[in-house]
Symmetry: C2
Subunit: 238 residues, 2 copies
DNA sequence: GTATGTATTAAACAAACGTATGAATAAAAC
DNA sequence: GTTTTATTCATACGTTTGTTTAATACATAC
């Protein structure tokens, strides 16, 4: 427990860490306050309830991260002028503030990342309300940016690919223990730059992939010769 | 609550549903038993404890799903003989048993999918132990299959891309509420076939994407002209 | 000094939690 | 039939939960 900060900050820091380790329902207020070295009632004094504490833990980090996302996107678009911003640059603006939150959260092994990655799969109206409030504008801006970069792709397909990208990112944030276990030390999860480069390459390829010929029909022929796809197919629905 | 099945099955069905809706720590045994219409003590009688119930809820579904995954992969490899199985077919064998678990879980809106998708981001030794036990062989088999399809890609990169694919899949399973909210009804999340086709296309493109020229160096030039990638680059590390 | 508003503390609250017990009931074996 | 085994039941146990209360300490203002 750190002792230099205020009571409020000590509660937030330890709540963030413990929520990431044990989940929300798995972390009691007593565990948080004793780890922070403050009195139990301090939580209900500085925050109204446990729900409000959860909300504050999220928005404290999410707000500056989303601000940086939008700032990076703005910079890309201003630099491009009337030209298009590449998919790769849009993906980077979306991914980097989360994968490398310098200046926002303390460095090192970041409980914030585990927590944010887990947020997507967390049940309960509480977390979902927070998410929608903080993410609505970000999602809209990046959807538009991808749409401008890929004008031939229909809007719903853009959203699906953004969805998959968020999934790959969230998984990288929250579940890096899986690849550590399965790879047996072959994959270095502490290398933030390597993670970002790999994730960006994967997501860009997926977002730029050609449209299936019949998105809503029966499944495509299961055996297609491998190799790089050639071009975007024309859509026939919507 | 269904009344036709045995007590054990009624507990498992309702536990699966409630765990998906509220999480493990957020679901009490009393909520499960009252929803199932059985006595509270039935849980500790048929299963040893809540932890064992969680384990049983998972393995009941995960075992046949993984069996089907391996069966599909076996079928692909037998059919191919000495030839290579395409990345797309391997991805399908990995993804389809989860996205369309016909014959394994009851049809309709599947709590199983939400639960399995959330499993990846769930903390606690309990879930992780279950996961590793059930998934170790599956991960090994599919890693080898991808490696055979893409011999130029180094093993750790294969694992990273499998990791991202799992992330996109898990997100599609557990967090479809996000794309429903953000798209405002534009994306049909009830169309299982459409989900599978889009996910497969995205993952195949990501897995087959060219290697970055310097995987461990500083970040690549942020502005690269858009358009489809050309070929796999030669790796220079490992 | 006294007053005033803020922050911390120990203690208690009712409610809900997972688990255990022993009696009652149903089913099966003999 | 009786005995034995498997299952269900109401009930209770000891903890732990989030929240509240009333008292105390500590500032700064007057």
């Amino acid at each position: 427990m750190r002792t230099g900060d205020s009571t409020k900050e000590r509660i937030l820091d330890n709540a963030e860490r413990l929520f990431a380790e044990r989940g929300f329902d798995g972390t009691s207020l007593r565990a948080i306050t004793s780890a922070a070295g403050v009195n139990l009632a301090a939580v209900n004094y500085h925050f109204r309830s446990k729900n409000d504490l959860i909300q504050e833990v999220f928005s404290r980090r999410l707000a500056p991260i989303n601000a940086r996302r939008l700032a990076l996107l703005d910079a890309c678009e201003n630099e491009a002028g009337n030209g298009v911003v590449s998919v790769e640059r849009v993906v980077r603006a979306f991914v980097e503030p989360l994968l490398r939150p310098e200046g926002i959260a303390p460095a090192g092994r970041l409980p914030l990342q585990t927590l944010l990655g887990r947020m997507y799969a967390e049940p309960g109206r509480n977390v979902r309300k927070i998410f929608l409030g903080e993410m609505k504008e970000v999602a809209r801006r990046f959807r538009d940016a991808f749409q401008r970069a890929l004008p031939e792709v229909p809007p719903n397909e853009i959203l699906w690919r953004l969805h998959f990208t968020i999934g790959a990112m969230a998984h990288t944030l929250a579940a890096s223990w899986i690849i550590e276990m399965l790879s047996g030390g072959l994959c270095d999860t502490s290398d933030a730059n390597g993670k970002i480069e790999r994730l960006v390459a994967f997501a860009v390829a997926g977002i730029e992939s050609p449209l299936p010929l019949r998105a809503h029909g029966r499944r495509a022929r299961p055996s297609r010769p491998p190799g790089p796809r050639r071009a975007l197919a024309k859509r026939e629905d919507l």
